[in-house]
């Protein structure tokens, strides 16, 4: 048995090397660098908590990025979840040609955020863009989307919500797993479609919702491309999310120590939100087998 254990360990060596070199080592080093003044071009100098002190008590850009990130997550995640579930519910219908629509709705997620999407978003939201043209046609006044902090945040939230494909696919799988007998029983009991959705679909889907929620939450906190390409973090840093600040600190000003400290704060932030979700999940997530069994 002992030798078998050694053998399995040997087989695991490539994976262990991978995780140590590419995950644990960088993870530990970034924690160490967060206590240093490190420009990448000279040896790191240990400065204790100076980076964290600067972040919390001196640097106004940090708090602006912090709140912008929280605002982005709070706005994006629920909107994307509701929208993805709504579309998945429709896409779950057994209709002819539904496969085409499932693919079509997934396309925005494949596109990601690139220069073409940035051009499209500018075309939609610039001063003389399509949205303002429509607004003016219906008698409303055009709006400076990219020069208003709220407007700019709305544009990047919308970009992420529009890319709901992956969340939709997960919901679709979850919906397909719900036994049809439950709906039949509910129908016999006289439950309307509306009632069936809230009393059958949502409870049965709650583990999938929970999974999707955690996934979207983590992705939301790591949002980079949208603000980087569409708003450039502006106006006046209103959409300057933490990942963008981390990137700029690391690769524009080459302050790797400060960038590492920012990364750790973002990590802790994600951990706190995820922990809250896990803690509350006991109250709203239902497993058909009772869970944990």
């Amino acid at each position: 048995m002992k030798k078998e254990r050694y053998l399995s360990l040997i087989y695991l060596i490539p994976w262990i090397i991978g995780i140590v070199v590419f995950v644990i080592y960088p993870f530990a080093m970034s924690f160490y660098y967060s206590f240093t003044d490190y420009s990448m071009l000279s040896s790191p100098q240990f400065i204790g908590l100076a980076n964290y002190k600067k972040m919390f008590f001196v640097d106004p850009n940090f708090w602006q990025s912090f709140w912008a990130t929280v605002k982005f997550v709070v706005l994006t995640v629920p909107a994307k979840m509701v929208f993805a579930l709504f579309i998945a519910y429709i896409m779950n219908a057994k209709l002819k040609g539904i496969g085409f629509f499932r693919t079509a709705y997934y396309i925005p997620s494949i596109l990601g955020a690139n220069v073409a999407i940035a051009v499209l978003w500018q075309f939609l939201f610039k001063n003389d863009g399509l949205i303002n043209m429509i607004m003016e046609r219906v008698g409303l006044q055009g709006f400076g989307w990219f020069s208003s902090p709220t407007g700019a945040m709305f544009t990047i939230v919308l970009l992420r919500v529009w890319q709901f494909g992956s969340a939709m696919i997960i919901f679709l799988n979850g919906l397909a797993e719900i036994p049809s007998e439950l709906y039949e029983a509910a129908s016999i009991d006289g439950a309307s479609k509306f009632r069936q959705f809230f009393s059958v679909t949502l409870p049965m889907l709650s583990p999938v919702i929970f999974f999707n929620l955690v996934l979207q939450l983590v992705q939301g906190f790591q949002e980079f491309e949208g603000p980087f390409l569409v708003t450039g973090g502006g106006p006046m840093r209103a959409t300057y999310l933490l990942p963008m600040y981390i990137y700029d600190s690391a690769f524009k000003t080459f302050d790797m120590g400060y960038s590492s400290a920012l990364s750790w704060v973002l990590f802790v932030l994600i951990m706190i939100f995820t922990a809250i979700l896990f803690k509350t999940s006991k109250k709203w997530v239902f497993y058909a087998d009772g869970g944990n069994k």
Partner: protein, 442 residues
């Protein structure tokens, strides 16, 4: 069971032996390659790496020149690493940090002070590099603390490109002074601007600030030891001037730029719609803008940098476009120097690269291009203007265009344009950032 155990034990032993054998083989291979590398400069075959940034046409031209170099030097193979400007510096800094930077690196003029501790001092390699083909002042641009840390590729100039057709449409003469721009305002519709200073979409350039300050004060930003020469008062005066450009609608405000639909990597709507009548930019952008102007049926012209009433400088600022440098980690410094010399000075290389890297600083390369008629008429005009009016006192201004000062300029002008700060607040922000940069130079 015993047999199975024996087989397993043998397997483990076999595995361990294999690992040791493969490891030993790899070690001996690397020893071989190390041996080769130490012998490289004595005529043995070597492989070196070269990196640069640019567009497709530059990549093709550089690759053709490198092929010609390999043909001439069959003992040297050159591996190339190239791409766009975006993220080039990130990659290079990471490579320098890890000691894996290419043997010949193209670096931006601004970066030489940042990388000064990582670069080879080329002072003693003058012959190998063909340094006699360069004037003293061109070489001086790549000198830091008395060390020759790079070889200059070309010099670029900040110039004003005007939309000749649109100016004629509105009955506006080509501007010569800032005052001409103010005078043109009354002839233009509200949404047409006489001037736009291009540097980076989404951010207001610190170069416009430096331009105004050069003309107002007649002083460069710092002296030879990078000591800041501008006072808080100088910054206040410059910010006030910038504000008047925005208030009088001479240039679009940051707010207007944000809403104009501008995207990095795409033609600017202001240019395409012919609503920005002149562009203040580096003359390396001539071809890009000339093509865009042609596409919209307009004619581009170049005029000297705008001067100011009672100004103390011509305002014609220059900057080395790039340097070729060798990192200290290079094991093939002689081969790298040979490649740099070829790329900068060899007539064949010059003809192959044309003006893809700007008009070369190397005298022999420039003569070759001029004789072969490879410098476009527009570029010739640009150079004639620039070289006739360049303010040499301002030769080091570009060194202050660093992330700290750029960010401060962007923040200061954005806050000012959005009404979140006043002239004094913006000037204080700028002054503090330039003081911070001064300490970073040390």
């Amino acid at each position: 069971m015993a047999i199975i155990r024996k087989v397993k034990t043998m397997k483990i032993k076999g595995f361990v032996i294999s690992v040791i054998t493969v490891g030993a083989a790899l070690l001996s291979l690397s020893a071989c390659s190390n041996k080769k590398s130490t012998d490289s400069d004595n005529g043995d075959k070597v492989t070196i790496r070269m990196s640069w940034w640019g567009g497709d046409s530059r990549h093709k031209a550089m690759q053709a020149a490198i092929k010609a170099f390999e043909k001439k030097n069959p003992n040297i193979t050159v591996k190339t690493e190239f791409g766009g400007f975006d993220s080039y510096q990130e990659k290079l800094t990471t490579q320098l940090s890890g000691g894996t930077a290419p043997d010949v690196m193209r670096i931006d003029g601004n970066w030489i002070t940042t990388y000064k501790d990582q670069l080879v001092d080329m002072s003693s390699m003058g012959k190998e590099l063909g340094a006699s083909n360069f004037t003293k002042d061109k070489l001086a641009a790549a000198k830091v603390d008395g060390k020759q840390l790079g070889m200059p590729v070309s010099t670029i100039y900040r110039q004003l490109f005007v939309n000749k057709s649109a100016l004629a449409k509105y009955g506006v003469a080509e501007p010569k002074t800032w005052e001409d721009l103010f005078a043109a305002r009354s002839k233009l519709p509200n949404d047409v601007f006489p001037f736009y200073s291009y540097y980076q979409p989404k951010s207001v350039t610190s170069l416009l600030l430096l331009q105004i300050m050069a003309e107002q004060t007649g002083k460069p930003v710092g002296n030879a030891d990078n000591k800041l020469l501008y006072t808080k008062k100088d910054f206040t005066k410059a910010v006030k001037y910038y504000k008047s450009l925005v208030d009088k609608k001479i240039t679009p405000s940051k707010k207007e730029i944000d809403n104009s639909g501008i995207v990095e990597g795409a033609p600017f709507p202001g240019i395409v719609n012919q609503k920005w009548l002149s562009l203040f930019s580096w003359n390396t952008d001539i071809n890009v803008f000339a093509t865009q102007f042609e596409d919209m049926g307009a004619t581009l012209d170049i005029v000297p940098a705008l001067t100011m009433k009672n100004g103390k400088s011509t305002g014609e600022l220059s900057k080395p476009s790039a340097f070729y440098s060798i990192p200290k980690s290079s094991k093939h410094q002689q081969a790298a120097a040979k490649l740099i010399n070829f790329m900068l000075n060899d007539p064949t290389a010059a003809k192959l690269q044309k003006v893809e890297n700007g008009v070369p600083d190397s005298k022999v390369a420039r003569n070759t291009l001029e004789k072969a008629g490879l410098i476009t008429p527009l570029m010739k005009k640009s150079l004639k203007i620039a070289e006739g009016t360049v303010d040499t006192k301002m030769a080091n201004v570009y060194r202050w265009d660093q992330p700290t000062t750029m960010e401060a300029a962007s923040d200061a002008f954005t806050q000012l344009d959005y009404g979140k700060t006043d002239v004094d607040g913006a000037a204080t922000l700028l002054y503090n950032a330039f003081k911070e940069q001064e300490s970073e130079f040390k």
